[in-house]
């Protein structure tokens, strides 16, 4: 059974209160973020249906939104997702080398997850950190000025966290 904790339900109610009466659908994006964090890092259909129920909207309204925005994962992802920016300014500072290095180090292609379910590698477009390139998003934070050594350290850090 998919349900939020009491605390998360209170958060949903608070989010809904940010928008005009009868416009609870406006809370969809923030509630989907909550749901993704809560239910394993991706949005399975039952999760989306649950969100539709919470906001009193049709499930299709949730699916079409979830599939539009790049931050919602519609498939399972690794415990840690490396989202490396590959747009112009990052490319000028060597993002291609960083992407190649991660591929080689984790032995996966872009879009894949390691066999142990730990890491997913994704390439993304400009994340607004162009001056601190090359960079990646890891969970809720950015890792900037990436080098091969930094990537090694980040991988170690994640492994340590998982244990």
């Amino acid at each position: 059974m998919i349900t939020f904790s009491q605390e998360k339900l209170a958060k949903v109610a608070e989010l809904i209160s940010h928008y005009p009466q009868g416009r609870q659908k406006s809370a969809l994006l923030p509630v989907l973020h909550l749901a993704q964090d809560e239910f394993g890092g991706w949005l399975d259909t039952p999760v989306m249906d649950y969100v539709a129920g919470l906001l009193n909207i049709e499930p299709i309204e949730v699916y079409e939104v979830a599939s539009f925005y790049s931050m919602y994962n519609l498939k399972p992802v690794g415990k840690f997702m490396f989202e490396v920016c590959q747009t112009g300014p990052c490319m000028l500072n060597g993002s291609d080398n960083i992407i190649d290095y991660i591929k080689q180090k984790l032995n996966i292609k872009v879009g894949e997850t390691t066999a142990d379910g730990m890491f997913t590698l994704k390439t993304v477009e400009c994340l607004g950190a162009c001056g601190y390139a090359p960079m990646m998003q890891l969970g809720k934070n950015y890792r900037e000025h990436l080098t091969k050594e930094k990537v090694d350290a980040i991988i170690e850090e994640c492994r340590a966290k998982a244990n």
Binding site: H18, Y19, P20, R23, K25, S26, A27, L28, L29, P30, L32, H33, L55, I57, E61, E64, V65, F68, Y69, S70, M71, Y72, Q86, T87, G88, P89, M91, L92, N93, V124, E125, C126, L127, G128, A129, C130, G131, Y132, A133, Q137, K140, N141, Y142
Partner: protein, 454 residues
């Protein structure tokens, strides 16, 4: 040193907290505004000459004066913090380090516009910045600057952070409104404009983070004083986010009287190009604006020094100029490949097209494929004209300006770097090993002398 209005206090220890921000003179502009008539605040902003800092440069005071005021219908102010134009990362800096400056500017603006509930639409990836803003909003509320009857003025002002979820198109104001309503970010057909029918069909003003932050110094020093800073219609200060191949990437507040050359090479700003390399090209205002080779970047076609302001950057139109745009300043050194860089931008716009209009949906994908072919040594000479043709068919034929934004960088790259594209196509193998280099892109430009009339 140029004058600092927004970042003056950015380095004061603890400025992120309410206590320090207030001690440093924060929230004075709200005290002042609440004693004024809302219409007078709009006048003050008009006098300042402030132009929207989100990219289009539309006069803010004028935009505010367009908001409809139907009886009994609430109005809303929405701050555009979607910041996703490649090269642009200035709003993040403001929100991350001086969150109260944005909140202060938004309170004054909300009062001027009569918005009792205002929203900050922030790109989803800036998750930690959203938390910083939420904490700052809570502090402002505890101290009576937000909530019911703020500072005993009778004005109610609520403020909420709304996190997006990864979509550049949501920076376009009507897509942003759709997204705020919990929908896909598909831009709306205008009219009606948001000022008449925006969020929840209510009159809405959408302004960029930096625009709203600039309202604070405008109120503090007065619109007329603000207008004295800068030159011509480029008043006040502008944040530039500088990146690419420079020694000191980062955020700079400039007063729009310095030259592009000084900005790139002086120690006060970008500090020159790393490893003694030469400047090849630059996109001065975010990825959508035209790229210029060194010669046209530093000097206009008329032979004048190009300056860092709205007028000078666009001098020569698209033929020989560019735009201030969002202030995302991307520098390419002599070893960078313009074809490859342009390909990444084409990929970006293809990825970000919402898919509503066929010229944009199909055209961006097509341009990406053609550019990828040229870049990987599979291009044909006719591809260059094909690219030109595709971009021309997109421009002006779409619902929202993303189509234009995707077309312009390609057009400019071909206009100014056509021989680099040709070289790539003619030398597919060599192009995999080395770059075209600086070539003639720094050569003095021929300034046509006007015909002598008797």
């Amino acid at each position: 040193m140029g004058r600092k209005l927004l970042l003056e206090k950015a380095h004061v220890e603890g400025i992120r907290t309410y206590e320090v921000y207030r001690r440093e003179g924060g929230y004075r502009s709200v005290e002042k505004a609440l004693k004024m008539a809302p219409a007078d605040i709009v006048e003050e902003v008009k006098k300042s000459g402030l132009r929207g800092r989100g990219g289009a440069g539309f006069p803010t005071g004028m935009k505010w004066s367009f908001i409809a005021k139907p009886e009994g219908i609430p109005r809303h102010l929405v701050c555009n913090a979607d910041e996703s134009e490649p090269g642009t990362f200035k709003d993040r800096y403001l929100m991350e380090f001086i969150p109260h400056l944005l909140i202060e500017g938004m309170i004054v603006s909300s009062f001027a516009l009569g918005s009792n509930a205002s929203y900050i639409y922030i790109r989803g990836e800036y998750a930690w910045v959203a938390e910083i803003l939420e904490n700052a909003i809570a502090e402002a509320r505890q101290n009576g600057w937000l909530g019911k009857n703020i500072q005993g003025s009778g004005f109610d002002c609520e403020m909420y952070v709304h996190r997006g979820a990864g979509a550049y198109i949501c920076g376009e104001e009507t897509a942003l409104i759709e997204s705020l309503e919990g929908k896909r970010g598909n831009p709306r057909i205008k009219p009606p404009f948001p000022a008449i029918k925006g969020a929840w069909e209510r009159p809405t003003v959408v302004n960029n983070v930096e625009t709203l932050a600039a309202v604070v110094p405008i109120m503090n020093i007065g619109g007329e004083e603000y207008a004295k800073i800068g030159v011509g219609k480029s008043t006040g200060t502008k944040l530039i986010s500088a990146c690419g191949n420079i020694n000191k990437p980062g955020i700079y507040e400039i007063d729009m009287t310095i030259s592009v050359e000084e900005f790139i090479f002086s120690e006060e700003y970008c500090g020159g190009i790393p490893n003694g390399k030469k400047l090849k090209a630059c996109i001065p205002g975010g990825s959508s604006v035209p790229i210029l080779p060194q010669n046209l970047l530093l000097t206009t076609a008329k032979g004048e020094k190009r300056m860092m302001n709205y007028e000078s950057l666009s001098d020569g139109g698209f033929a020989t100029g560019s735009m201030m745009g969002s202030g995302g300043f991307i520098v390419l050194d002599e070893d960078q490949c313009v074809v490859r860089h342009t390909m990444t931008l084409a990929r970006f716009y293809h990825h970000e097209s919402c898919g509503q209009c066929s010229p944009c949906r199909e055209g961006t994908g097509w341009m990406e494929r053609v550019l990828k072919n040229i870049e990987t040594g599979k291009g044909k000479m006719s591809d260059i004209d094909l690219l030109w043709d595709i971009q021309r068919k997109i421009e002006g034929n779409t619902i929202c300006p993303l189509g234009d934004a995707a077309a312009w960088p390609i057009a400019a790259a071909i206009r100014h770097f056509r021989d680099e594209f040709e070289w790539h196509i003619k030398n597919p193998e060599e192009a995999q090993r080395r770059n075209y280099g600086l070539a003639h892109y720094a050569d003095p430009i021929h300034v046509p002398t006007p015909p002598v009339t008797a």
